[in-house]
């Protein structure tokens, strides 16, 4: 059985259920739980649910400290760029402790960060910055594209004994989808085939999954069968599912909202080039954002971002198809 809820509600549902299941789960951040009517504050009380000032270094550092001391904090950061203020705490503190202490310390914490608000939020609030964090040893990175995955990955994130960066997409917040009833945990490091196909493999991350599915749908109307794979977590990254798909299709197009050199797409391209070279019948193609900041004005914003049209074009080129409009 399942129920239909928006992406954001699915995330909140996972946090609430994990807080009910485990008293050690804490939930805090800016501009939350400020009124006695706040549902989390009402249900779990001020020991476990708190508002913080605008102090990202302290917020993430406090989560780290509470985790070392035995709790399982979830820190809500709203926009991903805000955690850049506290980059040391994100990449160079809690991520190192388990290793440096020879396993004496573990840091089970979740940092929740929204990214990619490409709806006029302009230069400083629109980045798809997840790729910056995928090579940090000790840090896991989740990037859900559907309500079901959002819930399942949040559940797993809270239960994980490591720091997890949970990236939610701002454009998807109100997207509705089926979420399984009851406990729902999606394992880390297991990609999901969002659409099966045989002619070409499209791998997309986060918001770009929607773009890829749209392109696959329009290509299907032309008789082109595209497989769409969503890695769901980018650290750990499930390369095997991608390799076995490419082994069947021989063609790989990667779609990512990030700029090319800080995209997950670039890393996947490298993995497939090394491990799946013999399967490839055409060069790997990357459809990413152009190397620029995101403008406020809509036509400029759209120009630099990947879209269905750009994906379709890359697929046509990979398969040697004539353009649809011709």
């Amino acid at each position: 059985m399942s129920h239909v809820i928006p992406y954001i509600a699915a995330i909140q549902e996972a946090i609430r259920e994990e807080m009910e299941r485990d008293d050690r789960v804490l939930y805090f951040g800016q501009n939350m739980a400020t009124s006695p009517e706040d549902p989390f504050l009402k249900q779990f009380g001020p020991d476990r649910v708190r508002v913080t000032p605008i102090s990202e270094t302290a917020e993430i550092g406090i989560a780290t400290g509470a985790a070392v001391a035995g709790y399982r904090p979830v820190v809500e950061l709203y926009m991903a760029e805000f955690l850049l203020v506290a980059t040391d705490q994100v990449v160079n503190e809690g991520t190192r402790f388990h290793f440096m202490s020879k396993g004496q310390v573990s840091v089970p914490m979740v940092m929740v960060a929204g990214y990619g608000f490409t709806a006029g939020w302009a230069g400083q609030h629109t980045g798809s910055i997840y790729g910056m964090f995928m090579g940090v040893p000790g840090l896991k990175v989740a990037l859900p594209s559907t309500p079901a995955d959002a819930k399942g990955l949040m559940t797993t994130a809270i239960r994980d004994d490591n720091p997890v960066l949970f990236f939610q997409n701002y454009l998807l917040l109100l997207d509705e989808g089926e979420v399984p009833d009851g406990e729902h945990a999606v394992p880390f490091g297991v990609a999901d085939v969002k659409r099966a196909g045989s002619d070409l493999t499209l791998v997309a991350t986060g918001y770009a999954v929607r773009t890829a599915l749209g392109a696959a749908e329009s290509l299907a109307r032309r008789g082109v069968s595209v497989e769409v794979i969503d890695p769901r977590t980018i650290a750990p990254l499930d390369v095997d599912t991608i390799l076995s798909s490419v082994a069947r299709t021989g063609h790989l197009v990667l779609v990512d909202q990030a700029t090319r050199h800080s995209s997950v797409a670039a890393v996947i391209a490298a993995e497939v080039a090394e491990l799946g070279f013999s399967s490839l019948e055409a060069p790997i193609s990357l459809v990413t954002a152009l190397d620029s900041s995101i403008a406020y004005s809509k036509p400029v914003e759209e120009f630099v971002l990947p879209d269905e049209h750009k994906v379709v074009k890359a697929v046509e080129e990979s398969l040697g198809l004539a353009p649809a409009s011709a």
Binding site: Q30, N31, T34, S35, V51, T52, P53, I54, S55, E56, T57, E81, F82, L84, V85, F117, A119, G120, W121, A122, G123, Q124, H125, Y170, L171, L172, L173, L174, L290, D291, S292, S293, A295, Y296, S297, K298, P299, V300, E301, E302, F303, V304
Partner: protein, 351 residues
Amino acid sequence: MANANPTDGSAPAALGAERLAWMYTQMYRIREFEERVKSTFTEHPGILRGHTHLADGAEASIVGSVAALAPDDQIVTTYRCHGYPIALGTDMKLMMAEIYGKATGLCGGLGGSMHLYDVARGFLGGSGIVAQAIPHATGAAWAAQIRRRGQVVVCFFGDGASKQGAFHESLNIASVWKLPIVYVMENNHYQASTRTDQEDANAAHGEPLSTKAKAYSMEGVTVDGADPVAVHATLADALARARSGTGPTLVESLVYRLSAHGNLIAPPGVPLNYPEHEAIAIFGNRDEYEAALRGDPVPRFRHQLVTEGTLSAADADAIEQAAREEVDEAQRFALDSPWPAPDSGLDYVYA
């Protein structure tokens, strides 16, 4: 002394009638502009994107501060940045066009509401990331110190920003280096939907936020930010201290934001109108909000000037009429202007 108002007994020469009328004019222009930005959400849905933060309620603080600047001084602000350039003389048409995302805007539509710049008028910009422009202002003050031309930098930010490391780190350095800078914290009693007493140690202990200056051994002053003359006097003192090399000041200017923090935060497809003020929407405190409306600095200053005989009612009406016409024209210009070329997004990545 951190909390004493140094303007007590040492007020600078009184502002003349002309200057006071100028100040009222700027306050009214800002209000009219912000109301037009706000009404755009309903009158022209879809034009405004992203997040817009209005200065309504802070006009007296903004204009009192800008009025005290010398021509060569510079300012650095936040994302709540529409008021300052208006008072500095930036063309409203270019501002509205920027906020509407048009090619004719101050920044060609690349920046939008949160990222206005007018470097020629001394407005060096700000940051959409809370408190992160405070060090930039501090660096500009170092540059001013090296140039020795008597310039001062005024750094505007909110109460919420004073909980960031960037604030504390900057004030410490500015005090050690005796930088020519004035930090103006507009305390509007909220950081988005959090009340100051829920997140600020001074406020939680019933102390003014200017107390923070003590930690950096600099002057700290709290001023009624609804009174442009008081703000002007406070800034004039602080600017004089900064210019003479005595060092920085932290001014806490008490204001009340009359609109919600910003327009609704929602994905495309949802109308982005302005919610009710957080006092009502989150805390159910209609009395607080209505008291703030009664203390609205714009009509309050008009009333004061007319009552004192500084300005006739007819002159005040004329100022208001001119501001409305100016904003009408700015809006028409912005609506009629073309969109930027899509590939202009690649033009300014590197200098």
